[in-house]
Symmetry: C2
Subunit: 401 residues, 2 copies
């Protein structure tokens, strides 16, 4: 499938009332961004800087829960996470597993950006992505920060490209809600995608007037409903980072529900852009599980290589969904599942309703497939996941990342 170019291109993202889509590289008032090529990657842009000109900008952040995190995550966590005014992000190296040298490089980056922007080092959030376990060269990085600050401009075109690794294209969007408040976001990620209480790299800017506490709460909700619900390959990264900056430059304090819904929508749209552009992705599915253990079961189905290869082949092999679900369900009480694929009921009371799989030919041929699994008890969880294709394997067997 072609990567989703709009956050509303997926059937699973609907446009809330009052939300207007702007050009995808637009920025809210008071923000500037840039991306430059510093030679960290063999070619292309690799360092991005994002800056809020407004004193008193508030922010929120979420990070990976991987025990082995990169230096940028370590250093960012010690920073003023509710008062960030800038972000420095680079591709071409995740600065993970390089010991004290990596930490020193991250701190030097923070200091250099702060000095150039006239803010405190603790107001600079850091994010790096690329190979784990190698050195991120400090001098080209600092020179790149200098060049990016000098190039700061009024759109996110170069910034959103500078953070990409194996992505086929940028993920970015800008929406406007009532009162003229804008929210923009840029994300990256194609492999090692199964964020948990965090996300792959995602940067959100808004000119709404919000308190730190509100922004943090809304960020947590939105992340939980978007990035925490996607999986390309079930692999939690060492570098997942979300930074959300709100600078109040619109002079508007938006209705919290309306703003929250727009933020949810934006993050879900970006998250689905990531899945649709996952390494080798040719088809995306949503598994919705109702019942006890819904979260566990939904993740098991979404990460099953057998379900994912059947999805790739367009094979309505529902037995594999039952197998993957049953593997994590407590044994002993039977497994009275009900399963629908694209609205067609194929299993009831745990037993097949279809005698011959050929009856289901064509059911999995679209770009977006929906599975709904019901089990006894309360609970609900959904996960959006990519198929598993030979291209994923080729790519990851040949590419050191």
């Amino acid at each position: 499938m072609a990567p989703l170019t709009s956050i509303f291109a997926s059937r699973w993202v609907s446009k809330p009332t009052g939300v207007r889509e702007l050009a995808e590289v637009e920025l809210p008032s008071g923000f500037r961004a840039a991306g430059v090529a510093a030679g960290l990657k063999p070619d292309g842009l690799d360092i991005g800087v994002l800056f809020s000109e407004v004193y008193g900008t508030v922010s929120a952040a979420r990070f990976t829960t991987n025990a082995r995190v990169g230096a940028p995550v370590i250093v960012s966590r010690e920073s003023a996470l509710d008062g960030l005014r800038a972000v420095v992000a680079n591709s071409g190296g995740s600065n993970t597993g390089d010991g004290q040298r990596g930490i020193d490089t991250a701190r030097a980056t923070q200091e250099r950006a702060a000095e150039l922007l006239g803010i405190k080092p603790a107001q600079v959030g850091l994010a790096s992505t690329g190979v784990i376990g190698t050195e991120l060269p400090r001098e080209p990085l600092l020179a790149g920060v200098h060049a990016a600050v000098a190039a700061l401009g009024s759109d996110t075109d170069d910034f959103s490209c500078a953070i990409l690794t194996s992505d086929r294209g940028p993920k970015r969007a800008c929406v406007e809600i009532a009162g003229g408040v804008r929210i923009a976001g840029q994300a990256k990620g194609a492999g090692m995608i199964s964020p948990r209480y965090a996300t792959t790299l995602c940067f959100i800017e808004t000119d709404a007037e919000l308190t730190r506490a509100t922004l943090d709460r809304l960020t947590g909700h939105a992340v939980e409903r978007s990035f925490n619900r996607i999986s390309v390959d079930g692999q939690l990264s060492t570098s997942d980072t979300v930074f959300v900056l709100a600078n109040g430059a619109s002079g508007v304090r938006p209705d919290e529900n309306e703003f929250g819904l727009a933020l949810d929508t934006l993050m879900l749209g970006l998250a689905l852009q990531i899945v649709s552009d996952g390494e080798g992705t040719t088809r995306v599915a949503r598994i919705v599980v109702r019942g006890e253990h819904a979260e566990l079961v939904a993740r098991a189905v979404a990460n099953s290589p057998l379900v994912k290869t059947a999805l790739h082949g367009g094979d309505p092999n529902f037995g594999r969904v039952l197998q993957a679900a049953g593997a994590v369900y407590p044994p002993g009480d039977g497994f009275p599942a009900e399963l629908e694929i694209e609205g067609r009921r194929v299993v009831a009371g745990g037993e097949a309703l279809v005698g011959d799989l050929r009856e289901l030919d064509g059911l999995l041929e679209g770009d977006e497939i929906e599975f709904r699994l019901s089990l006894p008890g309360d609970g609900e969880a959904e996960v959006f996941f990519a198929d598993l294709s030979p291209e994923y394997v080729h790519f990851n067997a040949e590419y050191t990342s």
Copy 2:
């Protein structure tokens, strides 16, 4: 890689003192076996029968812990699991998810075999493998049981072939220990392989004199050290079954340690034959983890598609091992891991010792690769796992199983 044809072909299986390898299709005294073609598969043998002629034969069994199990597992569990004298196994359909009709077919199979062999239905263990969620046709199955009983002979050649699905070849072995006691085993499996407290299909026969309790205990130990330690694709099957039959026909009550060690070796050898013949397998690895959470970490590494694709590509990308391990390790306390690949230390104190991955070129080029990961605390676990190749994806995208 070529599938392992001998249980001692792997570097990880050593021959215990006093153990002698016999021709792989040999049977212990008092056992007979057969395999026939009953049309359950488009071609080839698909029904196998195994029989102990000895009254008082004892047995042990282990099954999958998947909540959604097949009818043969349901019916076998209700049978005389410590006194089985026969096994009927078929490929071409797993008889899973077919409701009461599937249960009735399994019971009819048990009854027909018992009648033909002059034993009780509860003394017949059942095992089926193949597609989930379709009907296993009863009449061809019963006719096949009749033909197989009529064909019972003195080796396992046809039996071991009749249980195969996507396997490239049979997995079977026979060993003799001191006193002339023999132990033979046949196994199958190539995909949906991540047994838990159970295994894919495996049948073991011995003419040793053993009590029910001893046989059960030794079976549990051996399964735990062999089939429970392998993974092709991290997918727990709905049909995993081990039956071990001991008929005492040798007249020898073996030394328990010696017998247990031989049984462990036989099962580990068969388990490694399964991994080496996994769907699309080109390379097998062992991950040994020492420290707290060893089991969790070893499974996460073994089932990581990023580690498995790097293994496929011969890419010494140790950052992916750290990522997969860190993803399941409790965050917050740092991650002071030490990692060796093929005896070379590449990570210490959680940080890379290698500046350039090209220094490690060639390290992953063999058929069998060893990773050793040390973490703080007590504990140890090992998992043998297959790589992830484009062939696995092609096969499972195109094949309904």
